[in-house]
Subunit: 339 residues, 2 copies
């Protein structure tokens, strides 16, 4: 049963458990430092489909099916799926999961989607609105570039502050049970917009939102960064991560540097892989890393509690062309290993 603590945080008293999880990714992600953590690598970026959007849909659906199977369940057992992606009208989600016949509560949170969908799934399970809920998301480099920047065929030069949208999908099944990792708390973030207009510098537009959500969460729960094994943002990249640490230190006197990591900096090796620049991004980046590397390490006892702060840049494919700023948002879920 959920209980509000402080102004923004919700305590999930029953401890909804992650009963299964899965991640799939593309070739470049497979060649990154976490490549061997994913359940499946698509060496064909098109995933056998005839469009990038359908490729993303295929990967999204694959991650959801794998997570459900790994939880020992079937799609028919699932009461609800919270899912979304970056594409207009969430095409990656809707066309991906339509055959699963699971009630769908579509979410839109840009790259914060994994945290947002996990928070909603956990609240529904904690409150008995659902017995089993799925949280999932996806992104695809080629479908995202086409929507937000330029068709790949143009061969446009990328800016050095750019992040590389991950081709990946992640899914988790939340329910009651004796699993090793529970979602203990959640906090939904507010839109923070400090006026960044450069759509090629997402990290800068999202860092203030991440700082606000982390500061709110620590304040609501009366905890300090040292109480967590990891505060994991997804995906600020290199530039946004530095800004986040600076902002929290200067504005709030909070030093997270000893425990901070960022999914955008974990997905690729910018020194070895081409064109990564500031790091990874896209809904699927944090989605796939949470639903592989992080949950594996938690289940194996390497990490006991991880504050996962999903960050999203709420620009649209149209808004930068209208000289608009890039609003940021960040949602937090506290993952804890059951002792």
């Amino acid at each position: 049963m959920p209980e509000r603590i402080g102004k923004y945080t919700i305590n999930l008293l029953s401890g909804p458990a992650i009963l299964g999880y899965a991640a799939v990714a593309g070739k470049k992600e497979g060649e990154g430092p976490l490549g061997n953590e994913f359940d499946y690598i698509y060496n064909d970026a098109a995933a056998g489909q005839n469009s990038w959007e359908k490729a993303e849909s295929t990967m999204h659906s694959d991650a959801v099916r794998r997570a459900i199977a790994k939880a020992g369940k079937t799609p028919d057992d699932i009461n609800i799926i919270f899912a979304g992606d970056l594409l207009p009208q969430c095409m990656g989600t809707n066309f991906g999961i339509r055959e699963l016949n699971i009630p769908l509560s579509g979410v839109y949170g840009a790259c914060s989607t994994m945290a947002l969908s996990l928070a909603n799934a956990a609240i529904w399970v904690d409150s008995s609105a659902a017995d089993l809920a799925v949280a999932s998301t996806s992104s695809h480099f080629c479908s995202a570039e086409k929507q937000f920047r330029m068709p790949l065929e143009y061969g446009g030069q990328r800016s050095p502050t750019c992040q590389w949208t991950a081709t990946a999908a992640g899914a988790a099944v939340v329910g009651r049970g004796e699993s090793g990792v529970v979602i203990e708390k959640a906090a939904i973030g507010r839109i923070i917009d400090l006026g960044i207009k450069d759509a090629n510098n997402m990290g800068a537009s999202m860092a203030p939102a991440a700082a606000a959500t982390i500061a709110d969460f620590l304040s609501d729960t009366g905890s300090a960064p040292s109480d967590y094994d990891m505060i994991l943002t997804g995906d600020l990249g290199k530039i946004g991560s530095e800004l986040l640490k600076d902002l929290l230190q200067k504005e709030n006197g909070i030093d997270i540097s000893a425990v901070h990591n960022d999914c955008g900096m974990m997905m690729f090796d910018a020194n070895k892989q081409e064109d990564i620049y500031a790091g990874g991004s896209g809904c699927g980046c944090s989605g796939a890393i949470i639903c592989s590397h992080i949950l594996r390490r938690m289940n194996e006892g390497e990490l006991n509690n991880v504050l996962f702060v999903g960050t999203g840049a709420l620009l649209s494919s149209v808004s930068p062309l209208q000289s608009e700023t890039v609003p940021g948002i960040a949602h937090a879920v506290l993952l804890r290993r059951k002792q």
Copy 2:
């Protein structure tokens, strides 16, 4: 506290109440049969902005502010807003409400958004995850045509099966209290796709989803159409409404004709107003009608219980160009006047 009944339906035992609601609309909607029900009519389709998207954002924000004020609250009192719209990356929502500083759980459900956001808001309040939640949505004829069909400047001919996207926004504040109308039950729908490919015939693509959700809800609750003062779909329009009634009669032996109405058929008068064809549509159509006409009639005792079934066509701005079919979805909320 939510309680699952049957396979798809959730009983909201505390009866989350609608404490305030508001709707704003454009000039054409203001000239329709419900024109005098809306809180404000924008005679300027651009709402003083320099783009259709920003005009929609302005209207969305206006509806939310009005609903909160009418509930006797301030934005700072609200724990969470569930909001979304039709535009890519929900630009109407995110740019509209960013100044309100309310935690945002973005939703995507196309024209089913008002039902989806109301269901989520009600479940959060019922479970104590929120004390006060807002549900809101918007659409704008000009921003929608530009995304999904053709820029208005082309002067393209409209198909007779077309629906007219309403320029409108609706918002409701859900909380605990002595209000006249409560959200008693909710059911999240599944994606149903029977293979309709005509993006100018949304009614046909959504009718099967509406039929499935209505049949599921009646079965889960052991009720019949005659138990409701109104079964209100939004927005199937004329063609979709006929298909829905036929489908339910033939496939399920359920006759809803005595109590059925549809927001798409209520917004405009197709005999008097130009180019309406099959009726109204867009997230804002049912959003504005629920948050004005329907809730007013319920509060005044003219209607005691209304099963509101929001319907959405989950196509994207890209999918019809890729020869894709149009998936449909429908979510139900049961509104009941407190005796």
